[in-house]
Amino acid sequence: MIRHRLLIIYGIMLVSFTTYISLDTFVLASAYQSDAGRPNTSMFADGSVKSLDLEEDTTNEQVIDMSEDSQSADTPDEISADTDAADTAKGEGKSTGTGKSRKHSGRGKTSTKADSSETGDNDATASATQNTDSQQVTPAENEAGKIGSFTSDDAKISLTKYDYEGTAVYVADVTLSSAEYLKTAFASGTYGKNITQTTSSMASDNSAVLAINGDNYGSQEAGYVIRNGVVYRDEAGKNDVLCIYADGSMEVIDPSEYTAQELVDKGVWQAFSFGPSLIEDGSVAVTQSDEVGKAKASNPRTAIGIISDLHYLFVVSDGRTDSSEGLSLYQLATFMESLGATAAYNLDGGGSSTMVFKGEVINNPTTSGNSIKERKVNDIVYIG
């Protein structure tokens, strides 16, 4: 009898603890710092951080509706390119040979894209065309069309949709006059745990021209969080860290080599802890078997890449729908490489993957699997 009572009491304790830890992980919100996201203005020469204004847009183009209902008319025939053989040969060994202490980047790299950027030609299609030598798939061939653009004195954004490997991929080709326009924001302006907001809502709150979801820092308990030049979390995680510098360059670093404060002292304007690194030194850095955690094969993805200093690619792919299968990390890396990216980094994907341009959700986020609905996330990366 005592044994049975003991077992019942222990069972209740076990269920109670499991309920608590579940709530702590998924539900209970903890604000560590409200009014977060204020920029470290000392990182820029004039001691201020300026913002873009949608009113500055000189293109006056309407964003083409790319929602699920209208896609059939816009999407061209499916591509039939098969990259398996070349992919295997190219991909294997790339990520293994780098080692833990490697330090690769797009910093100071020169490429054909850099040249095109300097001449003002930052169109993604042009990028792809220039990089066809080593590619079997030419994204330009799969281009579904321009969705929209934004042009001002300080920013030029060209948004294009591709149909790649049976998946709708949205690419924002961004050229800035200064990295101060590449910003990040926390949900509700608060750094904390389980504090979430949709990407579009955060984009609206921050008057973003273009926004994508970030690394969802709140889902991890470790990993540097440096946003707008301010350190919010200085505990190193296991993942490599993407650093975007105030000079507009980008680098993926091993967090064991630097503290978060050292990174800020080096000029890191934004740092993300998710990964993996997709492209290093202009080459694909993942193999076909690499995945985020235990995720398999194809998924919606979000990634950010750099072609040359101040010239970025924001990429979001659909997935988990009948019209878009999704991409593997290797496919995503290969795609971005073909666009001319010299460095690229994977951000939070799956149902979180969302791109917002001029206030409209461009892709088809899949929060609960089959339904098209925006998921609430912890943070965004935006141009604004």
Binding site: R3, L6, L7, Y10, G11, L14, F17, T18, I21, S22, D24, T25, F26, N216, S219, Q220, E221, A222, V292, G293, K294, A295, K296, A297, N299, R320, D348, G350, G369
Partner: protein, 136 residues
Amino acid sequence: MTLSTLDDRSKEMFESAFGQLLFAFFCGLFGAVYEIFSHEVYSYFMIYAFAIPLIFGVIIPFVLLRFTGMRVTGHAMSVLNMAIVTLTVGCIFRGVLDIYGTTNRMIIVYPSVSAILFVLAVCIYMLMQIGSDRAG
């Protein structure tokens, strides 16, 4: 050999093993169904959740019985079952966290408590053996 022909201690052990076997299959089924609804994201911890009650609650007790004649019963068995269930629940929860792509430091409580309970079960078993030797 049927359950009705066994002595009380063996019967208790068989009942416990049967319960752990059902628990193992439930965990296996739960893990499989969970992965179906998680867009093919998987976690090895879902497999561990199936294997732990099967190995520690069924296979090892019967191996010990077969080769050493050891029968873990009474309070020792109850505490051992608590340890197995705790570790298994911890594995399921870790699997859920893996699949969701998140972490929680408090998850260390499961293996820690489980280890303490396991040591406690061994101690209780040894005390019971010493007691029965003295009585014998």
